[in-house]
Symmetry: C2
Subunit: 178 residues, 2 copies
C-alpha cells in the first residue's frame, strides 16, 4: 500500500516559516557540513507532493532541487500550464490527498514525500502519513506558518529514533500508530 | 543574578494541555520507571513560580507535590487568602514577572523554576529565562494550551543536550542566548 512520509524542519515553537514565508532563521542555523539524512530519506521515495505555498517558496530558491516527480496539489494551479523549465518534472493537480495517493499508486509509486505545512496537516488528518522526521531548530520565532494543525482525533506516535547535531538541531523520527 | 528555569512537557504539536486543561494524554505516555531528571532539575531551585491555571491544575492532582516555596502569580488570586493546607508553602502575588524576580532575589533566591505555559511565555518575553528543559511526548493532540506564544523578537537558543527514553519521550535542554 502507498504511504506518505514527512521530512521537515521546524522552530522549537512549531513554525516551518515566518508569516511571510521567510526561512532565513532556519538557513542561518543549518550546517552544510552536517548530514541531516535527506539523501537517505529521499532515496526510496517515488514522488513528492507539496502545496502551492511550498512550491512557490521552492521556486524562489533558484535551481530546482528535486530529482523526483513532483505533484503540486492546488485548486488554484490545477489546469494551469506548468512553467516550461519544469515540464516533465512538475504536475499540478486539484485532487484531494486521498485521490492523489490512489493516482500515484496506480502509477506504481509506493512511498511519497509529503512536504509543506498545510499538506502535512491534510495528509495527517486523512491518515495518509506513515512516519515523520521532524528536525527542530534551536530558536523561538514567535509567529509563523505552523507545522501542525487541528485534527479530528489524537495521532499517537512511536519514537523510532532521535539524534542531535553540533549545530543544535534535534532530529526525531516518529512512526504513526493506527 | 537571579535566573528563571523551565522544565516542562509538551505534545509534539506544542501543547502542554488540552483546551480544558486535561493532561491524560501526557500521563498515559509517562513511564515512572524512567528518570526524566526532575529531581536533579529542582535540586538547586530556591522557589517555584506558576500561574493560576497551573496552580489550579496542581490542586486537582491530590497531594501537594512541591517541596519549594511556591509563588502563584495571579491578579485574580492576589490579596485572597491561601487555602489553609497550603499556608507556609504557597503565596499569591499580583506582581509582574520582573518585580517577582526582584522580590525573590531580595529574599535570597538565585534560581527559580518557572512553570505553566502562560507564565513561561511571559518570562520569556521579559528575558527572564536562562534555560529550558523541554520534554516532548510522542503524540499530536491537535488543540490545547500552547507552550510557546508571541514574542517581541526571536529567542535564539543553544542546545545543551538532548536524550530520549524508551517511552518515546525526547528531552532537550536549551540555553537562552542573549
Amino acid at each position: 500500500m502507498i504511504t506518505g512520509h514527512v521530512f521537515i524542519a521546524t522552530s522549537l515553537d512549531g513554525f516551518i516559516a515566518r508569516p511571510d514565508g521567510d526561512i532565513g532563521w532556519l538557513l542561518a542555523r543549518d550546517d552544510h557540513a552536517e548530514d541531516h539524512g535527506y539523501s537517505d530519506f529521499i532515496a526510496d521515495k517515488g514522488a513528492i507532493v507539496m502545496g502551492r505555498g511550498c512550491f512557490e517558496k521552492v521556486l524562489t530558491m533558484g535551481e530546482w532541487a528535486y530529482d523526483r516527480p513532483v505533484l503540486v496539489l492546488s485548486r488554484q494551479l490545477a489546469g494551469k500550464p506548468v512553467p516550461e523549465a519544469l515540464q516533465g518534472k512538475v504536475r499540478f493537480s486539484g485532487r484531494t490527498p486521498k485521490d492523489t495517493m490512489t493516482q500515484l499508486e496506480a502509477e506504481g509509486v509506493n512511498r511519497v514525500y509529503v512536504d509543506g505545512g498545510q499538506l502535512v496537516q491534510s495528509f495527517l488528518r486523512d491518515g495518509l502519513i506513515a512516519d515523520l522526521v521532524v528536525t527542530t531548530a534551536p530558536v523561538l520565532i514567535g509567529a509563523g506558518r505552523p507545522l501542525f494543525g487541528a485534527l479530528p482525533q489524537d495521532v499517537s506516535l512511536a519514537l523510532v529514533s532521535s539524534r542531535h547535531f553540533p549545530s543544535g538541531l534535534v532530529q526525531s523520527t516518529y512512526r504513526v500508530l493506527r
